[in-house]
Symmetry: C2
Subunit: 303 residues, 2 copies
């Protein structure tokens, strides 16, 4: 009954106005699985190089994260170098070394092929569709993340895989590029026509908008005095959101709203420190307390 996640595991060099770090653990599958595994067992399919060693494996140890689909190949791991300006809204990519990720062809271990929940992290949509085809039974839901590189450069392949997808998680610019529609309600109708019935629009410091057949919802980002590093916020959100949904085993609008808050809470921890550092350290008690604070903040009693 696990949540299967396919994506990247990487080393990141990060520069923000508040400091810099080199070769910290990164990649969508890292943030996603560390976040989702707080709520539900996760299976990871990704590729790393020979530079991925005991220090990195240790981060995932003692958590319900199955790494039997994490393949180690000769060569170096995916390595990304990025920087942020003072407003932390957009990453500037300084260097991208795909390394072993260049030839990533996800192959699902036998035991992963019947997982009921599937998250397709941001990789080539041709590979995303191939993963779906490897499943021996249709998962209860398939969720997908993508980016403008694929929306603009591989539109047909992306449309093909989106026909198999139930939940689309993208940022605001991406959903507008995908649908050629500025208004988000209208964009949602077009997304539904392509396939996904549930749309999650990530809006950075403005929070998240959720579109479902039963209604819509918007959550602010949890307000923080110190945001150090936004890297991984989106994948951490996806992990909390889909981990919560997997644990709940349902996708009605009340559950989806609660999952949205949960994802936002998890993302708020990630951005308070560099890389996965805070996500590794945060306790169950911290998560519960912040979830309660978040619920209280957005509750309106005076009407």
């Amino acid at each position: 009954m696990s949540l299967l996640a396919v994506g990247s595991v990487a080393f990141d060099d990060l520069e923000t106005p508040f400091g810099k770090r080199e070769r910290v653990l990164g990649g969508s599958a890292s943030y996603f699985s560390l976040s989702a595994s707080r709520f539900h067992p996760v299976q990871v399919v990704a590729v790393v190089g020979e530079d991925f060693g005991p220090d990195q494996y240790r981060v995932f140890e003692g958590r319900p994260i199955d790494l039997s689909g994490l393949v180690r190949k000769p060569g170096q791991s995916f390595h990304w170098k990025g920087s942020y300006g003072f407003d932390l809204n957009e990453a500037r990519t300084l260097e991208t070394h795909l390394n072993v990720f260049q030839d990533f062809h996800p192959e699902l271990p036998e035991a992963f092929r019947s997982s009921p929940y599937l998250f397709l992290g941001n990789i080539d949509p041709v590979l995303q569709l191939d993963v779906v085809k490897q499943m021996t039974q249709r998962p209860r839901w398939v969720a997908l993340d993508t980016m403008n590189f694929w929306i603009n450069g591989a539109r047909e392949a992306l449309q093909a895989v989106l026909g198999e997808v139930d939940i689309l998680l993208v940022n605001e610019g991406e959903v507008r590029a995908l649908t050629q529609e500025h208004n988000l309600l209208k964009a949602y109708r077009k997304v539904q026509a392509i396939g996904p019935k549930i749309l999650v629009v990530k809006r950075g410091e403005y929070g998240v908008s959720l579109f479902t057949p039963e209604g819509i919802f918007a959550a602010p980002a949890f307000p923080l005095e110190d945001v150090f590093d936004p890297t991984g916020a989106g994948d951490t959100f996806a992990g909390g959101f889909l981990g919560f949904l997997s644990a709940a085993g349902k996708t009605d609008v009340d559950t989806l709203k609660a999952a949205t808050i949960t994802g936002a809470v998890m993302a708020s921890f990630t951005v308070e420190k560099f890389g996965t550092q805070n996500l590794e350290m945060v306790t169950e008690h911290d998560i519960k307390e912040r979830t309660k604070a978040f619920s209280n903040m957005i509750r309106v009693d005076g009407l």
Copy 2:
């Protein structure tokens, strides 16, 4: 027990991707009073020219809006011409004719000087302070709107009037410019040090963030499929927000949250048609229904 509003009454020429209109009723005090008067009696102090005639007066008739402070002077009314691009986020000013507004020196009618609630619309902070000084007793609260023109060009005068203000309503760029601080929680601390204990940050299509000594809140904008004209959205929000607060007679955090939703609901009506058109027509039933829909949308039950 009225809510006293000082601001502008104008004619606007509006161009959006969806059409254009000439000489529609505009100005901060128009949107504000039409919105606030749905909840509480309003007194208006503003200036118009000889071109302001029966058609314009009629818009305010039959509503609890006291126009005895609306002075009609020889000359033409304030006239603004602006246009919006496809994303409707920022107005481009094409022409500004201050006309009689150039020499506006608000003079409060005797009956207005003891009003318990005071809204200082976006005018020269020297005039805003002068209005405060004309009050025979300290209002229960004073609310203020301003803009970058005054923040950058009249900082000392603005700081002086802000010392008398309880509730500051500004947009995101304005609060950052005022406090020289990007992070909104830190910006709020600086605002508190200047004077206002309550900060409302208007974020356009991203909604509103509310900062109070008892806690913070964020409301999304009500999601609409058709946004025709964002002109007046901020002043309409302020009207709904402060009208609700005046009617409630208190400013605890629960009341402030409910006021925020109310302001957002009113603004959502304004942007659906040109100028004040929808704000004039909307019924009490429409307002109640949308408020209910908004409350349901943001309520989270699944946690």
